[in-house]
Amino acid sequence: MNINSDIPWIKQVLDGNTNAFRNIVNTHKDRAFNLAFRICRNREEAEEIIQDSFMKAYRSLGDFRMDSSFTTWFYRIVYNTSVSFLRTKKDNNINLDADFAEKYRYSEINSYEYEAESEYNRILVNKALGKLNDEERGIISLFYYDELSLNEIAAITGDSVSNIKVKLHRSRKIMSEALTSNKTREVNTK
Protein backbone atom coordinates (compact mmCIF):
# COMPACT_ATOMS: atom_id res chain seq x y z
CA MET A 1 0.00 0.00 0.00
CA ASN A 2 1.29 3.43 -0.92
CA ILE A 3 0.95 5.51 2.21
CA ASN A 4 1.66 8.85 0.56
CA SER A 5 -0.59 9.05 -2.49
CA ASP A 6 -3.61 10.38 -0.58
CA ILE A 7 -1.75 12.92 1.54
CA PRO A 8 -1.90 15.89 -0.91
CA TRP A 9 -5.67 15.44 -1.25
CA ILE A 10 -6.13 15.12 2.49
CA LYS A 11 -4.20 18.36 2.98
CA GLN A 12 -6.36 20.09 0.39
CA VAL A 13 -9.54 18.93 2.13
CA LEU A 14 -8.20 20.16 5.47
CA ASP A 15 -7.43 23.49 3.82
CA GLY A 16 -11.11 23.84 2.97
CA ASN A 17 -11.26 22.29 -0.52
CA THR A 18 -13.98 19.69 0.08
CA ASN A 19 -14.01 18.82 -3.62
CA ALA A 20 -10.55 17.24 -3.25
CA PHE A 21 -12.25 14.46 -1.33
CA ARG A 22 -13.62 13.29 -4.70
CA ASN A 23 -10.13 11.93 -5.52
CA ILE A 24 -10.06 9.96 -2.28
CA VAL A 25 -13.53 8.54 -3.03
CA ASN A 26 -12.53 7.59 -6.58
CA THR A 27 -9.35 5.87 -5.39
CA HIS A 28 -10.88 3.80 -2.64
CA LYS A 29 -14.54 3.26 -3.55
CA ASP A 30 -14.16 -0.07 -5.39
CA ARG A 31 -11.95 -1.78 -2.84
CA ALA A 32 -14.03 -0.41 0.01
CA PHE A 33 -17.21 -1.57 -1.69
CA ASN A 34 -15.74 -5.01 -2.26
CA LEU A 35 -14.78 -5.35 1.41
CA ALA A 36 -18.21 -4.20 2.62
CA PHE A 37 -19.97 -6.39 0.07
CA ARG A 38 -17.97 -9.48 1.03
CA ILE A 39 -18.87 -8.93 4.68
CA CYS A 40 -22.57 -8.13 4.29
CA ARG A 41 -23.20 -9.89 0.91
CA ASN A 42 -25.76 -7.34 -0.18
CA ARG A 43 -25.07 -4.59 -2.72
CA GLU A 44 -27.52 -2.03 -1.32
CA GLU A 45 -26.21 -2.49 2.20
CA ALA A 46 -22.61 -2.41 0.99
CA GLU A 47 -23.25 0.93 -0.69
CA GLU A 48 -24.84 2.26 2.48
CA ILE A 49 -21.86 1.04 4.51
CA ILE A 50 -19.23 2.67 2.31
CA GLN A 51 -21.19 5.93 2.17
CA ASP A 52 -21.26 5.91 5.94
CA SER A 53 -17.56 5.03 6.04
CA PHE A 54 -16.58 7.87 3.72
CA MET A 55 -18.61 10.30 5.84
CA LYS A 56 -16.90 9.06 9.00
CA ALA A 57 -13.51 9.39 7.30
CA TYR A 58 -14.30 12.94 6.19
CA ARG A 59 -15.42 14.00 9.66
CA SER A 60 -12.35 12.47 11.32
CA LEU A 61 -9.86 13.57 8.69
CA GLY A 62 -8.45 16.19 11.06
CA ASP A 63 -7.39 13.42 13.44
CA PHE A 64 -5.64 11.38 10.75
CA ARG A 65 -1.88 11.16 11.32
CA MET A 66 -0.12 12.06 8.08
CA ASP A 67 2.77 9.66 8.71
CA SER A 68 0.48 6.63 8.74
CA SER A 69 -1.24 4.76 5.94
CA PHE A 70 -4.55 6.28 4.89
CA THR A 71 -5.63 3.00 3.27
CA THR A 72 -5.17 1.06 6.53
CA TRP A 73 -6.90 3.84 8.48
CA PHE A 74 -9.83 3.98 6.05
CA TYR A 75 -10.15 0.20 5.74
CA ARG A 76 -10.38 0.00 9.52
CA ILE A 77 -13.36 2.35 9.32
CA VAL A 78 -15.00 0.29 6.54
CA TYR A 79 -14.36 -2.99 8.35
CA ASN A 80 -15.70 -1.74 11.70
CA THR A 81 -18.71 -0.08 10.05
CA SER A 82 -19.54 -3.30 8.18
CA VAL A 83 -19.23 -5.52 11.23
CA SER A 84 -21.20 -3.19 13.50
CA PHE A 85 -23.83 -2.72 10.76
CA LEU A 86 -24.46 -6.46 10.71
CA ARG A 87 -24.41 -6.70 14.48
CA THR A 88 -27.10 -4.06 14.84
CA LYS A 89 -29.17 -5.44 12.00
CA LYS A 90 -32.04 -7.35 13.53
CA ASP A 91 -32.67 -9.86 10.81
CA ASN A 92 -29.24 -10.96 9.64
CA ASN A 93 -30.62 -13.76 7.50
CA ILE A 94 -32.49 -11.76 4.88
CA ASN A 95 -30.00 -11.37 2.10
CA LEU A 96 -30.87 -10.56 -1.47
CA ASP A 97 -27.63 -11.74 -3.05
CA ALA A 98 -27.54 -14.92 -1.03
CA ASP A 99 -31.14 -15.63 -2.02
CA PHE A 100 -30.21 -14.99 -5.61
CA ALA A 101 -27.33 -17.45 -5.30
CA GLU A 102 -29.65 -20.07 -3.88
CA LYS A 103 -32.10 -19.68 -6.74
CA TYR A 104 -29.42 -19.96 -9.35
CA ARG A 105 -29.69 -23.36 -11.02
CA TYR A 106 -26.44 -25.14 -11.83
CA SER A 107 -27.99 -26.79 -14.89
CA GLU A 108 -28.65 -23.38 -16.42
CA ILE A 109 -25.00 -22.52 -16.56
CA ASN A 110 -23.28 -22.64 -19.87
CA SER A 111 -19.71 -23.41 -18.89
CA TYR A 112 -18.41 -22.71 -22.40
CA GLU A 113 -19.19 -19.04 -22.17
CA TYR A 114 -16.69 -17.06 -20.25
CA GLU A 115 -19.18 -14.58 -18.83
CA ALA A 116 -21.46 -17.30 -17.61
CA GLU A 117 -18.57 -19.09 -15.99
CA SER A 118 -17.38 -15.97 -14.29
CA GLU A 119 -20.93 -15.30 -13.05
CA TYR A 120 -21.09 -18.88 -11.88
CA ASN A 121 -17.83 -18.48 -9.99
CA ARG A 122 -19.15 -15.28 -8.45
CA ILE A 123 -22.14 -17.15 -7.11
CA LEU A 124 -20.02 -20.05 -5.89
CA VAL A 125 -17.76 -17.67 -4.00
CA ASN A 126 -20.75 -15.85 -2.56
CA LYS A 127 -22.23 -19.10 -1.34
CA ALA A 128 -18.93 -20.25 0.13
CA LEU A 129 -18.45 -16.89 1.86
CA GLY A 130 -21.89 -17.37 3.38
CA LYS A 131 -20.47 -20.22 5.43
CA LEU A 132 -18.15 -17.84 7.27
CA ASN A 133 -18.98 -15.28 9.93
CA ASP A 134 -18.75 -11.51 9.31
CA GLU A 135 -15.20 -11.11 10.60
CA GLU A 136 -13.89 -14.11 8.70
CA ARG A 137 -15.42 -12.83 5.46
CA GLY A 138 -13.66 -9.51 6.03
CA ILE A 139 -10.32 -11.21 6.64
CA ILE A 140 -10.65 -13.41 3.56
CA SER A 141 -11.55 -10.37 1.46
CA LEU A 142 -8.60 -8.32 2.70
CA PHE A 143 -6.23 -11.24 2.20
CA TYR A 144 -7.25 -12.43 -1.27
CA TYR A 145 -8.84 -9.46 -3.03
CA ASP A 146 -6.62 -6.74 -1.59
CA GLU A 147 -3.59 -8.98 -1.13
CA LEU A 148 -2.73 -7.38 2.19
CA SER A 149 -0.16 -8.87 4.53
CA LEU A 150 -1.14 -10.45 7.83
CA ASN A 151 0.29 -7.43 9.66
CA GLU A 152 -1.83 -5.05 7.63
CA ILE A 153 -4.95 -7.11 8.21
CA ALA A 154 -4.18 -7.18 11.93
CA ALA A 155 -3.89 -3.39 11.92
CA ILE A 156 -7.26 -3.04 10.20
CA THR A 157 -9.21 -5.55 12.25
CA GLY A 158 -7.52 -4.81 15.57
CA ASP A 159 -6.72 -8.50 15.98
CA SER A 160 -3.29 -10.03 16.65
CA VAL A 161 -1.31 -11.54 13.76
CA SER A 162 -1.52 -15.00 15.31
CA ASN A 163 -5.32 -14.70 15.60
CA ILE A 164 -5.53 -13.61 11.98
CA LYS A 165 -3.49 -16.66 10.98
CA VAL A 166 -5.84 -18.97 12.89
CA LYS A 167 -8.99 -17.34 11.48
CA LEU A 168 -7.56 -17.33 7.98
CA HIS A 169 -6.63 -20.99 8.19
CA ARG A 170 -10.11 -21.91 9.42
CA SER A 171 -11.85 -19.74 6.81
CA ARG A 172 -9.74 -21.15 3.97
CA LYS A 173 -10.60 -24.67 5.02
CA ILE A 174 -14.34 -23.95 5.15
CA MET A 175 -14.29 -22.10 1.84
CA SER A 176 -12.21 -24.74 0.07
CA GLU A 177 -14.62 -27.43 1.22
CA ALA A 178 -17.62 -25.39 0.11
CA LEU A 179 -16.13 -24.64 -3.28
CA THR A 180 -15.00 -28.23 -3.84
CA SER A 181 -18.40 -29.66 -2.89
CA ASN A 182 -20.16 -27.23 -5.24
CA LYS A 183 -17.83 -28.21 -8.04
CA THR A 184 -18.54 -31.88 -7.39
CA ARG A 185 -22.27 -31.17 -7.50
CA GLU A 186 -21.74 -29.39 -10.81
CA VAL A 187 -19.96 -32.43 -12.31
CA ASN A 188 -22.68 -34.79 -11.05
CA THR A 189 -25.50 -32.73 -12.61
CA LYS A 190 -23.85 -32.78 -16.06
Binding site: L14, D30, F33, E47, I50, N121, S176
Partner: protein, 138 residues
Protein backbone atom coordinates in the same frame (compact mmCIF):
# COMPACT_ATOMS: atom_id res chain seq x y z
CA UNK B 1 5.05 -11.74 3.58
CA UNK B 2 6.56 -15.18 3.07
CA UNK B 3 4.30 -17.02 5.48
CA UNK B 4 1.23 -15.55 3.85
CA UNK B 5 2.28 -16.42 0.31
CA UNK B 6 1.98 -20.12 1.02
CA UNK B 7 -1.61 -19.49 2.16
CA UNK B 8 -2.43 -17.51 -0.93
CA UNK B 9 -1.24 -20.13 -3.36
CA UNK B 10 -4.28 -22.34 -3.18
CA UNK B 11 -7.66 -23.11 -4.68
CA UNK B 12 -9.22 -19.92 -3.37
CA UNK B 13 -6.82 -17.79 -5.38
CA UNK B 14 -8.61 -18.94 -8.53
CA UNK B 15 -11.90 -17.56 -7.28
CA UNK B 16 -10.81 -14.66 -5.11
CA UNK B 17 -8.46 -12.25 -6.87
CA UNK B 18 -8.14 -8.62 -7.79
CA UNK B 19 -9.85 -9.15 -11.13
CA UNK B 20 -13.02 -10.41 -9.51
CA UNK B 21 -13.66 -7.60 -7.06
CA UNK B 22 -17.16 -6.21 -6.79
CA UNK B 23 -17.09 -2.59 -7.95
CA UNK B 24 -18.99 0.31 -6.45
CA UNK B 25 -22.24 1.11 -8.29
CA UNK B 26 -22.35 3.63 -11.15
CA UNK B 27 -22.62 7.23 -10.00
CA UNK B 28 -21.48 6.43 -6.48
CA UNK B 29 -18.88 9.22 -6.41
CA UNK B 30 -21.47 11.84 -7.41
CA UNK B 31 -23.95 10.66 -4.80
CA UNK B 32 -21.21 10.61 -2.19
CA UNK B 33 -20.01 14.11 -3.05
CA UNK B 34 -23.58 15.49 -2.99
CA UNK B 35 -24.00 14.09 0.50
CA UNK B 36 -20.59 15.40 1.52
CA UNK B 37 -21.35 18.93 0.35
CA UNK B 38 -23.99 19.19 3.08
CA UNK B 39 -21.20 18.82 5.66
CA UNK B 40 -19.36 21.93 6.88
CA UNK B 41 -16.04 22.38 5.07
CA UNK B 42 -12.77 22.28 6.96
CA UNK B 43 -11.22 25.67 7.61
CA UNK B 44 -7.50 26.14 8.18
CA UNK B 45 -8.28 28.29 11.27
CA UNK B 46 -10.25 25.44 12.80
CA UNK B 47 -7.29 23.09 12.39
CA UNK B 48 -4.86 25.68 13.73
CA UNK B 49 -7.00 26.22 16.84
CA UNK B 50 -7.09 22.49 17.45
CA UNK B 51 -3.30 22.22 17.33
CA UNK B 52 -2.69 25.35 19.38
CA UNK B 53 -5.00 23.97 22.08
CA UNK B 54 -2.29 21.39 22.76
CA UNK B 55 0.08 24.12 24.04
CA UNK B 56 -1.58 24.77 27.44
CA UNK B 57 -1.76 21.04 28.04
CA UNK B 58 1.95 20.56 27.34
CA UNK B 59 2.76 23.56 29.57
CA UNK B 60 0.59 22.22 32.37
CA UNK B 61 2.30 18.84 32.30
CA UNK B 62 5.77 20.42 32.34
CA UNK B 63 4.78 22.76 35.20
CA UNK B 64 3.51 19.87 37.31
CA UNK B 65 6.67 17.87 36.64
CA UNK B 66 8.90 20.80 37.62
CA UNK B 67 6.93 21.57 40.79
CA UNK B 68 7.04 17.93 41.84
CA UNK B 69 10.74 17.85 41.10
CA UNK B 70 11.29 20.92 43.30
CA UNK B 71 9.21 19.43 46.14
CA UNK B 72 11.06 16.14 46.09
CA UNK B 73 14.42 17.85 45.75
CA UNK B 74 13.67 19.88 48.89
CA UNK B 75 12.64 16.89 50.89
CA UNK B 76 15.66 14.77 50.09
CA UNK B 77 18.93 16.02 51.48
CA UNK B 78 21.91 15.74 49.14
CA UNK B 79 19.75 13.84 46.68
CA UNK B 80 20.84 13.41 43.09
CA UNK B 81 17.87 15.44 41.86
CA UNK B 82 18.82 18.22 44.24
CA UNK B 83 22.28 18.48 42.74
CA UNK B 84 20.84 18.26 39.28
CA UNK B 85 18.39 21.09 39.95
CA UNK B 86 21.07 23.29 41.50
CA UNK B 87 23.33 22.67 38.54
CA UNK B 88 20.52 23.43 36.15
CA UNK B 89 19.67 26.72 37.82
CA UNK B 90 23.33 27.74 37.97
CA UNK B 91 23.87 26.90 34.32
CA UNK B 92 20.96 29.14 33.31
CA UNK B 93 22.96 31.98 34.92
CA UNK B 94 20.02 34.21 35.79
CA UNK B 95 20.37 36.78 38.55
CA UNK B 96 17.41 35.98 40.76
CA UNK B 97 15.42 38.93 42.11
CA UNK B 98 15.36 37.48 45.62
CA UNK B 99 17.76 35.55 47.80
CA UNK B 100 17.60 31.87 47.02
CA UNK B 101 18.37 29.68 49.96
CA UNK B 102 20.64 26.71 49.62
CA UNK B 103 18.77 23.91 47.90
CA UNK B 104 19.97 21.35 50.40
CA UNK B 105 17.96 23.12 53.11
CA UNK B 106 14.87 23.34 50.96
CA UNK B 107 11.53 23.76 52.80
CA UNK B 108 8.03 23.98 51.40
CA UNK B 109 7.83 27.77 51.85
CA UNK B 110 11.04 28.27 49.87
CA UNK B 111 9.52 26.42 46.95
CA UNK B 112 7.39 29.47 46.16
CA UNK B 113 10.47 31.35 45.00
CA UNK B 114 11.37 28.56 42.64
CA UNK B 115 7.82 28.18 41.39
CA UNK B 116 7.73 31.87 40.51
CA UNK B 117 11.08 31.67 38.79
CA UNK B 118 10.02 28.58 36.92
CA UNK B 119 6.79 30.28 35.90
CA UNK B 120 8.83 32.96 34.16
CA UNK B 121 10.88 30.28 32.45
CA UNK B 122 7.70 28.51 31.44
CA UNK B 123 6.29 31.69 30.00
CA UNK B 124 9.32 31.93 27.74
CA UNK B 125 8.96 28.24 26.92
CA UNK B 126 5.27 28.74 26.20
CA UNK B 127 6.00 31.56 23.77
CA UNK B 128 8.62 29.45 22.03
CA UNK B 129 6.18 26.55 21.69
CA UNK B 130 3.47 28.84 20.37
CA UNK B 131 5.85 30.23 17.75
CA UNK B 132 6.91 26.71 16.79
CA UNK B 133 3.35 25.47 16.31
CA UNK B 134 2.34 28.55 14.35
CA UNK B 135 5.25 28.07 11.97
CA UNK B 136 4.39 24.40 11.57
CA UNK B 137 0.78 25.19 10.73
CA UNK B 138 1.85 27.63 8.02
Amino acid sequence: MNDSNEFRDDLLKRYLNKESIEKAPEGFTERMMNQLMTEPAYTPEKQAKKRISAIPLVSLIITIILILLAVFAGKTEHAGTNILLTGLLKSINISWPVHIPDLSGFTVSDITVYVMSLSILLLVFDLALSKYFRNKIR
